[in-house]
């Protein structure tokens, strides 16, 4: 049908709609058009906008066959209390068909404090597992074959230390670093803008990151040395377009830092990976995934001159949105997670973690985490969504939305470029303020009832039945970790620990030194994470957040 004919039809349709509206008005506050037609994707060109899966601009997916060959990696984010407890949970998840591990660390571990540091009081083992030394890491991965399982570790400021521990454990299992498969998050910029688990100021943090890129490209080639994360940016309140825009802007900063350090783009770009959130608005999310791949591939090819296809593709791990789960009527969260899973799968994710229904109340219990994993398996095996590559490609709505999100993303990237790049934009509070604004707008829409959340502002139950069997982490975990640390400090070769820490401190003072080998030596001598970070803090100092409120 030619455009004139569609336009004619559209006029007739609109006239009919007017009559319908006069009788029964529509819901207000809808942010999208009523209907999408070919006119909404004028100028759409299959070759430039879509292409084929597995090739530039990768809109339709990064692999040619996507899930027809192999499903995404099903990773359940887990970690709580002690290494021994978490090890049990990991083995249970693998036994139930999980295909990768995803480690959650407690806050002291994420911020570089040992469990016996006074600042860790009350936090040990709470939001993740407490890891103080290689000894804990050995227990965490006991009987888990690191040569076969792929592991994602959600660790940022002290990523180099946890990666070193992982390499050391693998070595003890007889698995060489060259065979290791997995990801460390290692994305410090979003810590300053959204999540808050930073330690050092931006410059030394960026150095640690490029040290890891370089070390991995030479020694751990199958490892994803960074997972540039929009997840937390979205959780902090960003919109879909802001999520990918601010994350891709961070990605540009990492690429520039690595290039400045003298690396070749095609030597490290293939180990960069991304981390997206999956919210409830299914089609908007699918469009977001597709738009992000298009933006990144264009940037890599046109701006940075990357030649290898792997350098141009945006590979992504996804987690369903924790902030979208409600404490009210928690059973409904199973449905939300299923929709978010569908969005991630139709968006073409490479790996997925589904949240558990009780996460707005506590850490997931064994039963609830199993339902979350089964949700992925049902979508994979029963829904048909994984049978076709990019099933929504060509949908007028999804293509128009993909274009719209892409355009918003480029606008933000330009603004951030003009400010001097993501680190400067964060330093000026620009990104934080944009996110805060969206978070506040969202909250006000919910409070005014303009945005419905079932069980919270509509269909509210007069009497809530409190859920049973919530997981509780006992306060004794902290005490246990303190004892383990005392025993470790008594039995290890403390002269070797001191020598390794001295060498690290010296190395930190010279910007040209790659710190990874020095950290690896310290870790193998059973220096604790807190001890290593203390030495680095001495040289690097600590970051203090700016006020943006």
């Amino acid at each position: 049908m030619a455009n004139e004919k569609i336009l004619e039809g559209l006029k007739a349709y609109n006239a009919a709609v007017e009559k319908t509206l006069a009788k029964s008005p529509e819901r207000t506050n809808l942010e999208v058009n009523r209907l999408y037609t070919p006119l909404d994707i004028e100028g759409f060109d299959y070759e430039t906008n879509l292409g084929f899966p597995g090739s530039y601009p990768f809109t339709r997916g990064v692999q040619p066959t996507m899930y027809r060959g192999r499903f995404w990696t099903m990773r359940m984010y887990a970690g709580f209390a002690t290494a021994a407890e978490s090890n049990k949970r990991y083995r249970l998840l693998l036994e139930r068909g999980g295909s990768g591990l995803s480690c959650a660390f407690d806050l002291p571990t994420q911020i570089g404090y040992d469990s016996d540091d006074p600042i860790a009081e009350g936090e040990v083992g709470k939001v993740g597992v407490a890891i103080d030394s290689l000894e804990d890491m050995e227990v965490l991965f006991d009987q888990i074959p690191l040569g076969k399982v792929s592991t994602s570790m959600t660790i940022n400021a002290p990523a180099a230390i946890l990666l070193a521990m992982y390499i050391a454990v693998a070595e003890k299992q007889g698995v060489p670093a060259s065979q290791l498969n997995g990801t460390i998050q290692n994305d410090i910029l979003k810590e300053y803008s959204s999540r808050g688990t930073y330690i050092f100021p931006p410059a030394p943090s960026m150095r640690l990151i490029t040290n890891i890129f370089e070390y991995c490209s030479q020694n751990v080639p199958r490892w994803n040395s960074i997972s540039i994360s929009g997840y937390h940016i979205r959780e902090a309140g960003a919109t879909a377009a802001q999520e990918i825009a601010f994350t891709i802007a961070d990605g540009i900063a990492y690429v520039e830092a690595a290039l400045k350090a003298g690396m070749d783009i095609d030597d490290f770009a293939g180990s960069l990976s991304f981390f997206w959130n999956a919210h409830n608005n299914v089609l908007e999310e699918v469009a977001k995934f597709r738009a992000s791949r298009r933006v990144w591939s264009k940037l890599m090819k046109e701006r940075f001159g990357a030649k290898k296809p792997k350098s141009q593709m945006l590979r992504v791990h996804t987690q369903t949105a924790g902030s979208m789960l409600t404490a009210q009527q928690p059973d409904n969260n199973v449905v939300r997670v299923a929709l978010q899973t569908a969005a991630a799968v139709m968006g073409g994710t490479q790996s997925l973690h589904t949240n558990s229904k009780d996460e707005a109340l506590a850490l997931p219990s064994e039963a609830s985490v199993t339902v979350a994993l089964r949700t992925q398996q049902i979508v994979a095996e029963e829904s048909g969504l994984a049978d076709v590559v990019d099933p929504l490609g060509g949908s007028y709505y999804v293509e128009a939305l993909t274009d719209k999100i892409e355009a918003e993303c480029w606008d933000y990237i330009k603004k951030i470029d003009d400010l001097g790049g993501a680190p400067v934009a964060i330093e000026k509070g620009y990104i934080q303020r944009e996110i805060q604004e969206s978070a506040y707008k969202w909250q006000m829409q919910v409070e005014k009832g303009e945005r419905v959340i079932v069980g919270v502002n509509k269909y509210v139950d007069k009497k809530e039945v409190p859920p049973k069997d919530l997981l509780r982490v006992d306060a004794s975990v902290g005490e246990g970790q303190k004892k383990r640390l005392a025993a470790l400090r008594a039995k290890r070769d403390n002269a070797a620990v001191d020598a390794a820490l001295d060498a690290l401190e010296e190395g930190a003072k010279d910007e040209k030194v790659n710190l990874m080998p020095l950290i690896l030596t310290a870790v193998k001598a059973y220096a604790t994470e807190g001890e290593i970070c203390k030495r680095l803090r001495k040289v690097f100092g600590e970051y203090k957040a700016i006020s943006t409120l």
Partner: protein, 131 residues
């Protein structure tokens, strides 16, 4: 004579960096006419109480999602009392299991807000209970 504006300190004790809720609440309180001071993240209970004293606030609103609330919230109320700040109203919010709420109230936290609470509820409570 104009009534003195209510001064609120919004604070995040402990190591938790999730400050979306704290910032949204701070902004809503400001829009409701309160004077709001936001501490930023990673404060010790001592630092929070010191700021409350310096800023002469009427209310301390604590936010924590990491699960350390049973340790850190009561520590704040204890230190406030030790400094003689008996008139300061303390409220708390975050991912806090129902089972923990009675204990926290006993420790002097006047009200607890879990996910899904409208900011209007917090505003009303503060207006009705500030000393």
């Amino acid at each position: 004579m104009a009534e003195k504006r209510i001064r609120v300190l919004v604070a995040k004790p402990g190591l938790d960096g999730h400050d979306r809720g704290a910032k949204v609440v701070a902004r809503a309180l400001r829009d409701a006419g309160f004077e709001v001071i936001y501490t930023g993240i990673r404060l010790t209970p001592e630092q929070i109480v010191e700021t409350a004293l310096q800023e002469d606030v009427n209310v301390v609103a604590l936010s924590l999602l990491s699960g350390a609330h049973n340790t850190l919230f009561p520590e704040v109320t204890k230190l406030l009392k030790a400094k003689g700040l008996n008139d300061v109203l303390v409220v708390g919010g975050g991912v806090i299991p129902d089972a923990d709420i009675p204990g926290l109230k006993e420790a002097g936290i006047a009200d607890i807000y879990t996910p899904g609470t409208p900011t209007s509820k917090i505003i009303e409570f503060i207006k009705g209970n500030v000393k």
